[in-house]
Amino acid sequence: MKVQVLSEVCTGHGRCYMLAPEVFGEDDRGHCQVLAPEVPSEHESQARIGAEACPEQAIEIEE
């Protein structure tokens, strides 16, 4: 699984890194930072939960 954040779409709701702290982190502004673009299999479900929670739909997952 690959995950990426569209940084021009993210506005820093922070739902992703609240729900999926192993996959998403935050930069100084509180905007999403992908911790590792290649998601280890044990964190795949967390990645989905974090991505689907984004009100801006700024996170893309490729499986």
């Binding site: 506005t11 509180g30 801006e56």
Partner: protein, 387 residues
């Protein structure tokens, strides 16, 4: 307005506004109220689109006037200028920075709760929900705590001037707010501290230090946006939890669920019901044509209970997935203080429930929710006091 639409104006300020929200979404998703030429937008997809397109739905000072002399920063500055201020302010209100503040907020909450825990009764709004966020805010800005009553008076003078015993115009109150911050900035520049006012005095945008006016325009907004909203959220949450004991027990027994509890109550209560915009271009939403210059209210509460976007939206589900609520708005103007708000909500709920896990509304009380920002100014609670 057609008579057939009169029923659409009823019930939006009720303790449970969801039936009224539903009628609007189903029957008239873009409702012209006839008040000030404004239109009210109710469906989730429309509201989200508007929030994400400030070049169409502008947030500039034409959208709302609240006694300020210049545009509030950053709310009334649209992109691209807007991002410069958000880059400056976002880090100060990030989740990481708020975590540093959390122990202090917990102490403040605990002190206030201890003061009434043995009494078996409290005025939740007046004794906790109102003073706590304001006290946190005064500390954050480095303002003297003994100014709290004056501060609350100024805030209410802008937000609900009609409720005051001696009403004055918003402009008059606005001048007092500028004066208060002027005085505080003078004091801080004589003796800088670790507070937000001292920090702003040193910061730069576009390679130039923030001017006194820019700092005042930021402070004015922080005062108006940061206090009532957390107060209203606490009122709404605790009113719900007082009336739903099984849900409350579940939240207390499963502390790992607390973030989910808070997000779902943010969605289901949506304490800040509307945000205001002004159209800069003609646009068509839900088959209704809107014209440049029209004022528009985005009904966040109705968006957050839209069955087109949420499964079984009127059910309160602490484990809801996904929960893309718009309680903090969305797009570039998304609430700057959302992480402060979440931290305060978490701290107060945990500290309150640790001392008072079982409580209910005082017998016979009829809750009244204020329009626009859903405060419950009379929220008496009762419980069995410790012996």
């Amino acid at each position: 307005m057609a008579e057939t639409e009169a029923h659409l104006l009823v019930g939006v300020n009720a303790p449970d506004p969801k039936p009224a929200y539903r009628r609007r979404r189903d029957e008239c998703p873009v409702l012209r109220t006839g008040e000030g030429g404004s239109a009210v937008i109710s469906r989730y997809e429309d509201v989200l689109w508007a929030l994400r397109h400030p070049e169409v739905f502008s947030s500039d000072s034409e959208a709302v006037s609240i006694g300020n002399e210049r545009p509030l920063i950053p709310l009334q500055i649209d992109p691209p200028e807007h991002v410069k201020y958000r880059k400056l302010l976002d880090p100060v209100f990030s989740r990481k920075r708020m975590a540093i503040l959390e122990p202090q907020v917990r102490r403040l909450a605990a002190e206030r709760i201890e003061a009434f825990a043995d009494r078996g009764v409290c005025d939740f709004h007046g004794e906790l929900a109102e003073p706590l966020p304001s006290t946190v805010f005064l500390q954050l800005l480095g303002l003297p705590l003994e100014r709290l009553p004056y501060f609350l008076e100024l805030k209410d003078g802008i937000i609900r001037p009609e409720a005051s015993a001696t009403p004055v115009s918003r402009e008059t109150t606005g001048r007092k707010i500028y004066a208060l911050f002027e005085e505080a900035l003078d004091a801080r520049s004589a003796e800088p501290g670790e507070d937000l006012l001292s920090w702003m005095s040193e910061e730069e945008v576009d390679g130039r230090k923030l001017t006194r006016e820019q700092i005042l325009d930021i402070c004015y907004l922080l005062l108006l946006a940061g206090l009532d909203t957390v107060t209203a959220s606490l009122d709404c949450f605790v009113a719900y939890l007082a009336q739903h004991p099984e849900r409350r027990r579940m939240a207390i027994e499963r502390p790992e669920m607390l973030d989910g509890v808070i997000e779902e109550l943010l969605r289901s209560e949506t304490p800040v019901v509307t945000v205001l915009r002004v159209l800069k271009q003609d646009v068509t939403l839900s088959s209704v044509e809107l014209k440049a210059g029209e004022r528009v209210a985005l009904l966040l509460g109705a968006a957050d209970s839209d069955e087109r976007s949420f499964d079984d939206p009127e059910r309160v589900d602490f484990g809801r997935r996904p929960n893309r609520h718009l309680a903090f708005g969305g797009g570039p103007h998304r609430c700057l203080g959302s992480h402060l708000a979440r931290m305060e909500l978490r701290a107060v709920l945990e500290e309150f429930h640790a001392r008072i896990p079982e409580y209910e509304l005082a017998p016979g009380v009829q809750l009244q929710y204020s329009p626009g920002i859903r405060q419950v100014s009379e929220l008496p609670l009762v419980w069995s006091a410790r012996a």
